[in-house]
């Protein structure tokens, strides 16, 4: 087998095993939650009636032993059935379908912004090592990774939306605006596909503030990482040789330095994505961005077991997929893996 194929298959196998493990973890954790979901869901009147409680338990499969519940759960998952939210009585899959694109769009915008700005700043700092620019960039990136995201969200909201009125502060679109026809679930992309330019501008303007806040910590992370990767590459023999040959510095930078540095930078993207999702949980509420983060928080605090399981699962699997993609990219880019 081609070494690259074997590498990819191994990563894929690990991913599948992890996904299975995640179902086990979400299921176990959700069942640790104290309190009776039946009471919470039915309300006082109905839960005083044993017949209704019994029926509800049967409907929800809550009367069976845990291992049986788990196997049922897995079977349902494979059919795309994530259960019914105990709180809203709406299928979790449906609610996740609504919430997921919101967070995905936000996270994608944030990660693109972080990559552009982070790598740019990292490169700039590395190339001017020891200069004022380097110090300023390092300071800014340090502040970026050190500031609590939820606090930054509040500060940004207060200054940019409340005081300066520069950008809209909450939601994905202006109130009352009709979302574009659903294709990808990303309002920016869908509105372009439908040719609704006003909606595109609206969606984009709503995306900027939460997207930037969310990106700040990953920008810090990527800047620091890009800087040190570029410095590593700059000290390598082939780069020195290229420079010694008299190649123009911009050519050297682009052809050798950036390419060499890209491999380690890519490996950190998975981590960056994880920190974005964590940030989403803490900031979505501030920006009334009705995504996975807000859903996770509400589900956990309201004892909505299927919702919590659903979010854990979706986030966990997304995270695995992202890391898988990173591994694949890494496999293609790193000659040691490609040819080993």
């Amino acid at each position: 087998m081609h070494p690259l194929a074997r590498y990819l298959l191994t990563r894929l196998g690990i991913g599948v095993v992890l996904a299975f493990g995640i179902t086990l973890v979400t299921f176990t954790l959700a069942n640790l939650v104290p309190g009776d979901p039946v009471q919470a869901a039915l309300g006082e009147q109905a839960s005083a009636n044993p017949a209704i409680v019994q029926q509800f338990r049967e409907d929800m499969g809550l009367d069976k032993p845990l291992p049986v519940q788990y196997v049922t759960y897995l079977g349902n998952l494979l059919q795309g059935d994530f259960g019914v939210s105990v709180q809203t009585r709406t299928p979790v899959a449906l609610e996740l379908q609504r919430a997921f694109p919101a967070t995905a769009e936000l996270a994608t915008a944030a990660i693109l912004l972080s990559i552009l700005v982070g790598i740019g700043l990292g490169l700039m700092a590395a190339l001017r090592r020891g200069k004022t620019v380097d110090h300023v960039i390092r300071l800014v990136s340090l502040l970026g990774i050190s500031a609590p995201t939820f606090w930054l969200a509040l500060v940004a909201y207060y200054v940019v939306f409340y005081q300066l009125r520069l950008l809209p502060g909450s939601g994905r679109l202006s109130p009352g605006a009709v979302p574009p026809p659903n294709v990808t679930g990303f309002y920016t992309i869908d509105s372009v596909l439908a040719g609704q330019w006003a909606t595109f501008g609206d969606a984009l303007s709503h995306l900027i503030l939460p997207g930037t806040v969310l990106a700040l910590s990953t920008i810090g992370l990527l800047t620091r990482f890009a800087r040190s990767s570029v410095l590593d590459v700059l000290s390598l023999d082939y780069v020195r040789a290229a420079r010694a040959k008299g190649l123009p510095s911009s050519a050297v930078t682009l052809r050798y330095v950036l390419r060499g540095a890209l491999v380690p930078i890519i490996t950190v993207l998975g981590i960056a994505f994880g920190s974005l999702l964590s940030g989403a949980v803490l900031t979505e509420k501030v920006f009334a961005w009705h995504g996975i983060g807000e859903y996770a928080y509400n589900g956990a605090t309201r004892l909505d077991l299927p919702a919590v399981m659903g979010v854990g699962l979706v986030v966990g699997i997304t995270y695995i997929l992202i890391n898988l993609a990173v591994d694949v990219l890494y496999g293609f880019l790193d000659p040691r893996v490609r040819r080993a």
Partner: protein, 292 residues
């Protein structure tokens, strides 16, 4: 740690003094020192009792209350100072406990290999398969809001980083001749692990721990912000920022505790960076592998 002290010419790369020579490291250490002093002396230096509702509500900064008052008339400055007594020790406790737990598990996995290794590292992989806050959120919500439960949640999500680093370092170290020789001379597996292998692991793990203090403070305050950590009326920074969400136009309620978090985390990151820079590159790489 006498076992470590008494060993003869084993590697002990405790690089603390050198690290502290870097100017940024000095700045970081000084900020931490200021906060530690503030935490220790809080009852004496804070102008008011952090819990006493003895002032008019929602006073702007600058008057009797230098940083203003909150929704029930407590002095924000006093609460921010007292907040250091919660955030700092708890974050350190999280880091130290997860370091010990992770290092021990990682060392066992690396030294004994086979089934133990598989089990421990697969569990670690599973934890790594979740973004930290999501898992911590679910655990803390499952156990109920309290600092103890926030601590447990953080411990569960934090140990695998140390386990990975410790495991990889132990796997390298146990090939060393003096380790093999020690076993041949009749040292038991545990003695060998404790006396010959662990000293190789300690300094990188400590550096990783220092680097993680900042993240631990951020995550703990995040849990408190979500209402899953500190229980009111405790003066906890994250919880204070969350108070500010409900009193938005009284910006001072959220601003100052947030700045407190920012300065402490910056300080720990400065010190952590300096310590890492003082490690040799291979070690530094190993340390990076444990970060998330």
């Amino acid at each position: 740690m006498t076992a470590v002290e008494n060993t003869r010419s084993r590697p002990r790369r405790f690089a603390l003094p050198k690290a502290l020579r870097s100017p940024l490291g000095v700045i970081g250490a000084s900020i931490i020192a200021v906060w530690v002093v503030a935490a220790v002396l809080a009852p004496w230096i804070a102008p008011a009792d952090p819990l006493a509702q003895s002032f008019p509500r929602l006073q702007e900064p600058g008057g009797t209350n230098i940083l203003g008052t909150d929704a029930v008339g407590r002095d924000i400055l006093s609460r921010v100072i007292h907040g250091a007594r919660i955030s700092l020790p708890l974050a350190l406790l999280v880091v130290v406990s997860s370091m010990i737990l992770g290092t021990v598990l990682g060392a066992i996995a690396g030294y004994f290999g086979k089934v133990l290794d598989e089990v421990i590292m697969r569990v670690a992989d599973l934890v790594f398969a979740f973004p930290t806050i999501i898992l911590a959120l679910v655990i803390a919500a499952a156990l109920g809001p309290s600092l103890t439960n926030a601590f447990i949640a953080m411990l569960v999500v934090s140990w695998p980083g140390y386990a990975r680093v410790a495991r990889s370092l132990v796997m390298v170290a146990r090939q060393n001749e003096y380790v093999v020789a020690g076993r041949l001379l009749g040292a038991s597996a545990l003695t060998s692990l404790w006396r010959d292998v662990l000293p190789n692991v300690i300094s990188p793990v400590l550096v990783l721990a220092t680097l993680n203090v900042g993240a631990a403070i951020l995550e703990l305050s995040g849990l408190s912000f979500l209402g899953l950590g500190a229980v009111p009326p405790l003066a906890d920074w994250g919880a204070m920022v969350s108070d500010g969400v409900h009193q938005f136009s009284s910006w001072w309620i959220a601003l100052f505790p947030g700045l407190a978090i920012l300065t402490v985390v910056v300080a720990f990151n400065l010190v952590g960076d300096s310590l890492r820079d003082s490690l040799d590159p291979t070690m530094a790489k190993a340390v990076n592998g444990g970060k998330r």
